[in-house]
């Protein structure tokens, strides 16, 4: 029996590491991560912020939407290293520290805007981001549907989410 040759193994990974430093929900964080780590995985795996959900990982479902420097963006279509130096907000920062819901969350609760809840964090971050923009809101059905067009929900049929956006606008004095 011939002796099997052990294949040559690389002594280190080709997967380049990089140090990233960003602010997440008001807290400065610094980690060494792979350059190919997605921001969604950074939030969930490195920081344990599992409120940011991951659905499709190609930008279609909207579950992973977070605020990047105040603007809604897909954390699955952003590398952690691209967020270097940025301020990121996730669903964990939306309710007050004492548990009081944000008006958008309150509106989802009142209007039954969620069932399984998987899409809800992305929905809420997208809506919160839009409410933070100074441009007037279009609260017609069409306008709200356009706002929600980048977030998929497979439970509700959307009608209660549309009602929740309108209710949130009332609660926030944006009608």
């Amino acid at each position: 029996m011939t002796r099997m040759m052990k294949p040559a193994e690389p002594d280190r990974s080709a997967d380049a590491q990089v140090e990233v430093e960003l602010t997440v929900n008001g807290e400065a964080v610094r980690r060494n991560v792979s350059v190919r780590m997605l921001l969604s995985d950074f939030l969930r795996h490195e920081l344990g912020l599992t409120g940011t959900h991951v659905g499709c990982e190609h930008g279609v479902c909207g579950c992973c939407t977070v605020l990047i420097d105040g603007k809604p963006g897909r954390s699955c279509l952003t590398l952690a290293v691209q967020a270097n130096g940025y301020h990121v907000r996730t669903i964990e920062s939306v309710a007050s520290a004492d548990g009081t819901l944000h008006p958008v969350q309150q509106a989802f609760k009142e209007c039954h805007g969620l069932q399984c809840g998987y899409c809800t964090p992305g929905m809420v971050m997208n809506i919160v981001g839009r409410f933070d923009e100074p441009q007037p809101l279009d609260l017609t059905d069409d306008g709200i549907r356009e706002l929600l067009s980048g977030n998929l929900c497979r439970c509700t049929g959307y009608l209660n989410i549309i009602a929740a956006v309108r209710r949130a606008a009332e609660l926030l004095g944006r009608t």
Binding site: E57, G62, C76
Partner: protein, 293 residues
């Protein structure tokens, strides 16, 4: 899915960015990443090196000049859409931008990135072709200006060389008094267009039409001007027979073969409908130069 292994560089000067790009034939420029990253997550794109240009000096912002609007490489779609100065000198742009994907994508994706990706169904390339704009490509030997119709060469293919970075795009202003319109047919809001049409035209006091520009996306391997239709409509009162003739003359511009969603004949019908719709809207918005709208 996750991207495969790649290298990453984030230069802060344009010269460094260009020399990094020139040093590796498989290096790819990363701007907003809203097309590149999904392609990498699917492993449809496997660049050896990403050159992240977001920290490069001088690549941000929008400048409205006397002839055109300069859009720098890192300008996001949403900035272009909501810029009040842009809306004042070229209201067509906001109308087009609302059809580009969804708000969270528009916050991250860049206008120039979309031009460089050159998807023939995308709205940004159509807009640049319709307006007769250009891009500035900066390479190791300096900058050069490339006209829109020369820039888009084929499906996902542009005149940009591997070692060049498109540092800005130039979108001309609308002529004074010109009417404008854009519309598209998609299966869902925010999808790439099955067909899309943009129209610019002027009308005199009697309603006679001049300066017609029509361009379409989704129908060929690149965005195309519909020159036969433009010629037919120029000088007319936009009567029913003029529009019929313009639509008939545009059918040959549809060269995309049947695909999983639609047939070629469906695309031709969609194109005809969009030509009628956008010409009518543009005509309604046009007013003789020097008069109020």
């Amino acid at each position: 899915m996750k991207p495969s292994i790649f290298g990453y560089k984030a230069p802060v000067t344009l010269a460094d960015a260009i020399s990094i790009l020139a040093s590796d034939p498989d290096a790819v420029v990363l701007a907003g990443g809203q097309t590149l990253l999904p392609a990498m997550n699917f492993r449809a794109a496997n660049p050896s090196l990403l050159v992240d240009i977001q920290h490069v000096d001088g690549l941000r912002g929008i400048d409205v000049g006397a002839d055109h609007i300069v859009v720098k490489a890192m300008t996001r779609h949403r900035e272009f859409e909501l810029n009040a100065d842009v809306a004042r000198v070229n209201p067509l742009i906001a109308e087009v931008m609302q059809h580009v994907a969804h708000i969270p994508i528009r916050h991250r994706g860049t206008v120039v990135g979309s031009l460089c990706h050159a998807d023939p169904s995308a709205e940004m390339p159509l807009l640049l072709v319709l307006l007769g704009g250009s891009v500035i490509a900066q390479g190791p030997s300096g900058p050069r200006e490339i006209a829109a119709e020369n820039f888009f060469q084929s499906f996902l293919t542009t005149a940009r060389s591997q070692d060049e970075i498109i540092v800005e795009a130039r979108f001309p202003l609308l002529p004074s008094g010109a009417g404008w319109a854009f519309d598209e047919v998609t299966r869902r809001h925010g999808d790439y267009a099955i067909a899309g049409v943009g129209c610019i035209l002027a009308r005199d006091g009697e309603g006679r039409t001049s300066g017609v520009r029509l361009a379409a996306c989704g129908i060929a391997d690149r965005p195309v001007r519909l020159r036969s239709a433009e010629t037919i409509l120029n000088g007319t009162m936009l009567g029913a027979s003029d529009l019929d003739a313009a639509v008939a003359a545009s059918a040959a511009a549809v060269t995309q073969p049947d695909d999983i969603n639609v047939s070629k004949s469906y695309r031709r019908r969609a194109l005809g409908t969009l030509i009628r719709r956008t010409v009518a809207t543009a005509a309604r918005r046009a007013h003789p130069a020097g008069t109020a709208s």
